[in-house]
Amino acid sequence: MTVEATCQDLTPRRLAPSRRPRCPSLRGYALLAAALALWEVLSRFILPLSNPQVAILMPAPSVVVVTAGHLIASGELPGHLLASLKREAGAFLFALAAVPLGIAMGYWRAVHEQLYPLLEVLRPIPPLAWIPLSILWFGLGDTQNQFIIFLGMVFPILINTIAAVHHVDPTLIRAARSLGAGERAVLSRVVLPAALPQIVTGIRVGLGVGWMALVAAELVGASDGLGFLINDARSLLRTDIIVVGMLTIGLAGLVLDVGVRRLAVRLLPWSAALAR
């Protein structure tokens, strides 16, 4: 899935609270509950009968819940989650440099001309393909991890920022100029706020891609974090921990996305209303 395709279904239209489907009734979860029940029965009673070794590979939901409880109580899971979030946040701070860069590329054609070819060449390289080279550059460790995460984040943010600036209504810029705005004021008081909704979209996509890259990076070269947790559990054959880790990764990614979306609705109420 390309970055643009991801952006398509994340248009700010979704930010409008009234557009969200109403809270589905419990009936909507019937199939999920049935599947869980089936899974429980399968892994608890049926699989052990046929092949106990396979049973280990399919931990029952109840076992997963118990393991999750243990991991939380011992502080192990929160510790790994925090380590991952720290990496994501650190990489994000660097990736934010894509915003001014994208504004410059979107606003000045000369900058665009020079940098876009470079962007076109680098962008299709998956962040994970950078892992070998980055290990040689930075060694195993946090820097290398954050570099991979950074690569996952920076392109969606950059691409969306450039597009956002290109889409700024030129009459708004004219209006500002005829009210006496100079170049700096046009950039900071018109182009930036007008582009902000789509920049936020880019940030959401970037955080998501970065989160995926993070787990992969931790699988390879980290001694903590959720990616490390599940890889470590693999060597101990603790499938229950693996599942707990996977669910945590998914949940944290979701919370991150919803959080940014909520924040955007709060901070940019006009953009949600415009998109309606």
């Binding site: 708004l172 100029r177 005829s178 009210l179 006496g180 953009s271 209303a273």
Partner: protein
């Protein structure tokens, strides 16, 4: 203050796909004295917007010169603020923020800024909507904000490009009356582009009729009907007939 001189202005656009260049405005000269309200009337495509854009400073003339109070026009600036057809309000700013934008650009002292913003909100009758955002306003109210925003910087010349074309008939009439009222409160040199005969007669002191392609001045007519203008007045009807004939004969050729 606000004497606009347009002298021998031509604008030629190069056709991007190698066709012949388009002469949009061809040798237009006129002078607006301070406080005059002038309407430019003409068919679609006759170069009205192009002319206005040159006065605004968005585009440079191919030939000729433009000046306000003797100072040549070199680019956009607050002495020539503009009201657009589609309002062009900043959606992320409230009514107060939009109206205060130009004052901020002029680095007006906060007290004076607040006073000026309040004054212009009252002037256009938007009291009580100070903290609304553009998307929360009706079309007519948005146009009022645009008018207040353009006036707040105390321009020497106020430019308008079909400002009421996006409004329905009723709204347009009331906004036209409103504009005349505001203009009488705070006289200003106004250059209004329109293709509506009635809008030109209702609002302007002078009407410049342009020919179609290339855009030249066909006739300049002074409107000396008393304000407020009455559509049933014989003078109004006669003037409307004259203008219609001028526009018609152009369409035939």
């Amino acid at each position: 203050m606000g004497r606009l001189v347009v002298d021998g202005v031509c604008k030629i656009f190069d056709e991007p796909r190698g066709g012949p260049p388009v002469v949009a405005v061809d040798g237009v000269s006129f002078t607006l004295e301070n406080g005059e309200f002038c309407a430019i009337l003409g068919h679609s495509g006759c170069g009205k917007t192009t002319l206005l854009n040159m006065v605004a400073g968005f585009e440079a003339p191919t030939m000729g010169s433009l000046s306000v109070d003797g100072a040549p026009i070199r680019g956009p600036g607050w002495e020539r603020s503009i009201i657009f057809q589609d309002y062009a309000l900043f959606p992320w700013l409230s009514v107060v923020g939009n109206i205060g934008f130009g004052l901020d650009m002029k680095r007006t002292a906060p007290d004076d800024r607040d006073r000026a913003v309040r004054h212009h909100i009252e002037l256009v009758g938007l009291g009580g909507f100070e903290h609304h955002f553009p998307h929360q306003l009706s079309g007519g109210m948005r146009q009022r904000v645009a008018i207040a925003r353009a006036l707040s910087v105390s321009p020497r010349v106020l430019l308008m490009d079909e400002p009421f074309a996006a409004l329905d008939d009723q709204n347009r009439r009331s906004m036209q009356d409103e504009l005349v009222r505001i203009w009488q409160c705070e006289p200003k040199t106004v250059l209004l582009v329109t293709h509506s005969l009635d809008e030109a007669i209702l609002l302007a002191d002078h009407i410049i009729v342009m020919t179609r392609r290339p855009g030249r001045i066909k006739r300049r007519i002074t409107v000396d009907l008393p304000r407020p203008r009455d559509e049933d007045d014989p003078g109004y009807i006669a003037l409307r007939k004259t203008l219609r004939a001028l526009i018609r004969e152009d369409a035939a050729t």
